[in-house]
């Protein structure tokens, strides 16, 4: 690896770290219950919840650490944390 003077690195390069591997519990979103409020998106510490064209929210499991904040804060109880089986 070439070192740059002053330790300069490129912006937003942490995306190579797939922190989803840290997860023990996985958030599962229920669109039937979702009120499209965006609270989960605002509070996600990984900023990994995005919005689709129908305003439903989806976590990016590549980065979701399974903290459970979204499920705790969702006013519609639309997110359930489930134990994640891994191979």
């Amino acid at each position: 690896m070439k070192l740059l003077p002053g330790g300069i690195v490129k912006p937003k390069t942490t995306v190579v770290n797939k922190t989803g591997a840290w997860r023990t519990f996985i958030p599962v979103f229920d669109e039937d219950k979702c009120k499209k409020c965006g609270i989960c998106e605002t509070f996600c510490p990984e900023d990994c919840i995005s919005i689709d064209e129908n305003e439903f929210r989806h976590p990016d499991y590549d980065f979701c650490k399974g903290c459970g904040i979204c499920a705790e804060e969702c006013p519609a109880d639309a997110i359930e944390m489930k134990y994640e089986e891994k191979e």
């Binding site: 690896m1 330790g7 690195v9 490129k10 912006p11 937003k12 390069t13 942490t14 995306v15 190579v16 770290n17 797939k18 922190t19 840290w22 997860r23 605002t42 509070f43 996600c44 510490p45 990984e46 900023d47 990994c48 990016d60 590549d62 980065f63 650490k65 399974g66 903290c67 459970g68 904040i69 499920a71 705790e72 804060e73 944390m81």
Partner: protein, 287 residues
Amino acid sequence: MSLFAQGHTACAGCGMPIAVKLVLEGSGENSIVVSPTGCLEVTSTRYPQSAWGVPWIHSLFENAAAVASGIETALKVKGKKVNVLVIGGDGATVDIGVRALSGMFERGHNVTYICYDNEAYMNTGVQRSGSTPYGASATTSPAGKLSFGEDRPKKDIPAIAAAHGIPYVATASVGYPKDIVKKVKKAQEIVGPKYIQILTPCPTGWRFDGSKTIKLAKLAVETALFPVYEIENGEITKVKKIKERKPVEEYLKLQGRFKHLFKKNKDRIEVIQKMADSNAEKFGLDG
């Protein structure tokens, strides 16, 4: 994606990255950020990667405000208008960097200094800082046979900042995201030194389940243990009112760092309740 990328390595449920995302939303792309050593620096810039979507520089632990002062002065000489911010931890701010911070205030630099307050030196293993609250057990103020934990009250840095006569001082909590964005935007419209302290719960150091971060960030405010207010040119101009103030136990009992208080230090909980009462009175929080 915000200006703070995924793949940072803060613990699951950490309040700090939520605050950083919101601060950058308020400050926008035209910003330069300085961060002293601490969890934010370590978890956002594991070499050779960076989570930052704006120019960012790592200072020493103790001189973030001095580095920001230099950047602001250089930009002024070059005739460029850029928002210069510091985003640093409580240890870096209220203890080791307080001299540089005071100098920055005194010289009147146009810098927004954000302290993310997780109430201890988390990155090195939960040592107490000047910002650690009374009664909390930290590794250098451990609860035990002869100790009920931290025996000094939280240092009132917002009041110290305001005493410098700077135009804008504010506190905020990561439980109230819109308030953070609003305050950062407001700060960027004011010329001169600005200081904003944001409470960011730390599941690892406070010992609670990471899913409860926002709940605790709100409870700290709802109990009046962490009053949310603005001070402009030395005057309190706005406070976040509390409709029905909650007893401090509701906040304390959810955290391992206060667990010992419920066993044989019940009288200390009364002391903490008195601190909350006096905050409520001082800032007129009830109502």
